[in-house]
Symmetry: C2
Subunit: 341 residues, 2 copies
């Protein structure tokens, strides 16, 4: 969506190696591809593929920001790239539920307006983040689930695919493995619960507006129409004027503390920085309860934080200079944006 | 569920007209039956019936507390009474969705442990609050939706009924009226969205533990598998060590601010009272965005607040003396519990 703005503002200048519009704020976009990275399962091919996909997602989102579009456009563009890549557990490449189907969830929120859209349990929508956006923009509701969400997708002309589109051999084998473990152990093993690889993005546009979005295929071998944190506004996704957050982790814990909302309230009401608020919730509170995962946190001042407490989190950001930065493991070098305080 | 406690604590005494256990805190239970009360639709029969049902719900919940059971038992007992009464939009008497079916949602949370359970879109579960409790106690998940939630109900032996059980003539006529309006106006009228009558309860037991729960039939003529705030932990229901909240209102607004979680964070982190935090979110923030509704808020100090910004809210409370107090309209006399500060 193009932003209407006076023509005199649309003159770009390059100052201090940053893309800005006159009198406006430097743009920034951050993404994650899940905090479920395990060194044991990593190969050079997967690592290179994930890095390339993250760089592409960052560039696609940056294009939106550079053209003067809104933060929500950048978030949507970046997440669409990650959904389309089978390496991530969202869109194509989603993990399989217990019954052998893929069930996809996504949510999107615009900080300036608090407009939000979310969908849970869809199985023919190519890019669930685009359906979440349609809910936000074209329905009076915030959250739609199951068959009703599918029906709304049809009416909105959102791109549909045969459910087999989502199937990848790697995820199918993961389900078979989980089912086998389940049979042997008579109960669902913890490990199956931890197979998370949600994707998400947060952005600030050149008018300082924030947005956040999250998309996931849920967890391998999930039962009972389980709804995790990703499609829940306040748990997996939140944006307001102070902050934008997308989470990735053991969803039940994110739900029980309204993780994304807590991070934003800490920043807005207690004046905590993105790093401080992100650490408090993701590295202290959630692991203190027995949960794990990560998040990306963006403040209105442009500060970006990538808290996580797992072996690794696919993550990256791109700023006003258009150079993408990506990382996977805790000690990977990842320069951070200059904050405008 | 009976609480294990040392025998010497189980001696009740009556001091200052309050039921307490030695060295323990006075118990309190508050309920609501929805903030969608409209004077225009009220009859003496409905008013008398609602008052009687609320008093019964308060007494049933109080029985649990008096017997030394937990806050979550009192919340569950009170909500079950309101679900069973066809006057309220929860359980029997739920409003009809667009397709002529009833879709029920509920959630429950225990403050001391942050344990939580929620169900969305069930249609054969007699008391959705009991299924939310089963999710909390017997599944690794927080939220289940649709067919999966029904399947879990069967496995747990939760009481099931034929969907016709939920049907009441009054709600059916409301749907017919909404459908007629919709045909005449080509779009869903705002008024249909506002038919909310969710029920909820919050309690503090004699060990100072808090709990909150909410149950609803959603909104008349709803489309698309819409999920409101009632089954969303953090939006319609929240409890922690500082506070317990159950909301009733235009769910989309409660979702967009994580209303229940925001009230609890204000109380826990900013030190606001139940009255101050409840007013800020329910009487200022939500109407400022264009939404409406109400909530019940209970602090760890026993303070109870009943903020709402509509024509009326079915509401009441019962304290250590076992005398129920109920009210409907803003100016109805409603004494408040003595706070132990």
């Amino acid at each position: 969506m193009k932003v209407d703005k006076p023509a005199f503002q649309a003159v770009a200048t390059v100052e201090n190696n940053r893309f800005t519009l006159r009198g406006e704020q430097p743009v920034v976009l951050a993404i994650h591809g899940g905090a479920g990275v395990e060194r044991a399962g990593m190969t050079p091919e997967i690592e290179a593929g994930a890095r390339a996909a993250m760089e592409l997602a960052l560039r696609r989102g940056y294009e939106q920001l550079k053209q003067g579009h809104q933060a929500v456009d950048a978030v949507t563009a970046a997440i669409t790239v990650l959904e389309d890549d089978p390496l991530f557990n969202a869109g194509r490449g989603a993990v399989f539920a217990h019954d052998g189907h893929n069930e996809l969830d996504a949510s999107l929120m615009e900080g300036a307006t608090l407009a939000a859209g979310a969908v849970a349990g869809v199985h023919t929508v190519k890019n669930p983040i685009l359906l979440a956006r349609a809910v936000m923009e074209h329905s009076p509701h915030v959250m739609l689930a199951g068959d009703g969400a599918e029906q709304f997708a049809k009416e909105q002309g959102v791109s549909l695919v045969d459910p087999s589109y989502f199937r990848t051999e790697r995820r199918w084998q993961e389900l078979q493995h989980a089912l086998q473990e389940e049979n042997q152990q008579a109960s669902v093993p913890d490990r199956a619960i931890k197979h998370f690889g949600t994707v998400g993005a947060v952005a600030r546009d050149d008018e300082g507006r924030l947005a956040a979005g999250t998309s996931t295929g849920g967890m391998t071998d999930k039962h009972y129409g389980r709804v995790g944190d990703s499609p829940v506004i306040g748990a997996g996704t939140y944006a307001d004027v102070d902050c934008a957050v997308s989470g990735t982790g053991w969803g039940e814990y994110y739900l029980r503390v309204s993780a994304a909302r807590e991070i934003c309230l800490r920043m807005g009401r207690l004046g905590e920085s993105a790093a401080t608020a992100g650490k408090a919730v993701i590295e202290d509170e959630i692991p203190g309860m027995g949960g794990d995962g990560g998040a990306i946190v963006l403040g209105s001042d442009g500060e970006v934080a990538f808290p996580f407490n797992t072996e690794g989190m696919y993550r990256g950001w791109i700023g006003a200079d258009g150079v993408p930065h990506v990382a996977i493991y805790p000690n990977d070098a990842l320069p951070l944006p200059v904050v405008d305080r």
